[in-house]
Symmetry: C2
Subunit: 285 residues, 2 copies
């Protein structure tokens, strides 16, 4: 299958990310349908022209018409959905996803999936601190990274198709990682940062701190406004990798702590120079 | 002294903050002079019209003409400067500062200062990841907080004058804290966040992480580009408060770690809901 405008795209799960995909793909000229549990989300998306057709039901017709199905569901719901409804997929359909962890889903879904349907996994590294299709916004992909996570079961065609989706959506960079590389990377870059932000926000209950704050505290805690249902599932789905990254951070934080305690100014400055040098690579341009 | 346009303002230390003060005050119509160690900074500031007059020398005339002197120096240099040069101050001059820690300087300077000069301390909570007068920018004060830190030695007039400076510079909020309150607050809101960012940047040396990163990691590490000379001095100048806040953060981070390890999903969600609720107060509007 090539990613040409004639293909019919179904989005399952019309929240912030599903809705942003729908908006972007519809603007690009694709025929976009949606299945989601909440009727208000379908009404909103139809009214705003974000989708062409949508339902809260498991509609075999809508599912069977789709050449490409994009899943934007919580991990355990995604697996359940495939088990219950995969018989409705069109033969040769390709399915992909936006799930933030891969080890707990990719191989399991590929194992249970029909032989004539291919699952190629992806992780669009974009988001917001708000949820719901009402907040969907296709500009969140600009400047962001899109990771394709194939296994040995995937065909070159499906991998290419999935890369093309990332490019079309406007991501700045499309990269390919293995399941294990992805989960280690995401534990460090995304899950650990959320753990830090939550811990920082919880560790001090002095009133009126917001009166005195500068931007550094605001920046570090932006992601402390967190969807607890989703992130607790993501953390536990990637528990071993995450605990490992948390251990690394604790060791580094303890090192700095001990240097401050020992008045080891040169040791502190060495860490600061290393951090300055490394951080330069992460600037957006 | 009232903050009227006729007063003559001297800035000592023409870096990022000193330069930003100069720009803002000059635009407001004040006569602004500067003393700084680097001749290039003076040349730049004169050429750009950021100051009216400037020198790299300890010039008794420039010092003696100033009604208000603003110090933007490292803490230990600030104290040395006062010891060596305070004889040149005009009688009834008011001096203030931008120093990020207060316990190590405010009472010491008030104790050694001439009786006919008053030191009222302030901390403008604004900055950038770059330094030098070339990067000065008076818009960094917009939306930011300005803290006045008086002691029992300060007069109501000087406290009011100092508050007025914050308002004139365009700060969103001007607040008053005691030396002890300030240092505890700054240890948490500013120093701890810098410790976290530096530790996070140092704890993982996997190459090419920047290819895969999302905005959350970028936001958490923006301040990991850090002036090691200045921040190591600030950390050590406020060591006890900072270690105390680091302990609190470690306890909170360990709590989350243990909940993840124990699969205590409800416990994790409780912390996430607390963090979400608290973080809402910190939104800029």
């Amino acid at each position: 299958m090539k990613l040409i405008k004639k293909i019919n795209i179904l989005i399952v799960g019309l929240g912030l990310l599903g809705g942003s995909y729908a908006k972007a793909l519809k603007k690009l000229g694709f025929y976009v349908t949606a299945i989601t549990k909440d009727a208000d989300s379908i009404d909103f998306a139809l009214e705003k022209g974000i989708i062409d057709k949508g339902t809260t039901k498991i509609d075999p017709e809508i599912i069977g018409e789709a050449d490409l199905v994009i899943f934007a569901l919580y991990p355990h719901i995604f697996i359940e959905w495939i088990k219950k409804n995969q018989q409705y997929f069109k033969a040769s359909a390709v399915i992909t996803d936006v799930t933030g962890v891969k080890g707990c889903i990719v191989r399991e879904i590929q194992d249970i999936l029909r032989e004539d349907v291919e699952f190629i996994s992806a992780h669009p590294m974009a988001g917001k601190e708000v949820s719901g299709v009402e907040n969907s916004d296709e500009t969140i992909f600009k400047g962001a990274n899109y990771i394709v996570v194939p296994t040995e079961k995937n065909t070159t065609e499906a991998i290419e198709l999935c890369c093309n989706i990332g490019e079309l959506l406007g991501f700045k960079q499309v990269a390919i990682l293995s399941v294990e590389e992805h989960d280690e990377m995401i534990a460090f870059l995304s899950q650990l940062t959320h753990c830090i932000a939550v811990s920082l926000m919880c560790c001090n209950n002095t009133p009126e701190l917001e009166k005195y704050t500068g931007d550094s505290f605001r920046d570090l805690t932006r992601i402390a406004r967190i969807n607890d249902e989703m992130w607790s599932e993501l953390f536990l789905s990637n528990k071993d990798c995450l605990l490992n990254e948390m251990d690394k951070f604790k060791a580094s934080f303890d090192e700095l702590y001990n240097k401050i305690k020992a008045d080891d100014r040169e040791g502190m400055r060495e860490m600061m120079r290393l951090s300055t040098q490394r951080r330069k690579l992460f600037d957006k341009n």
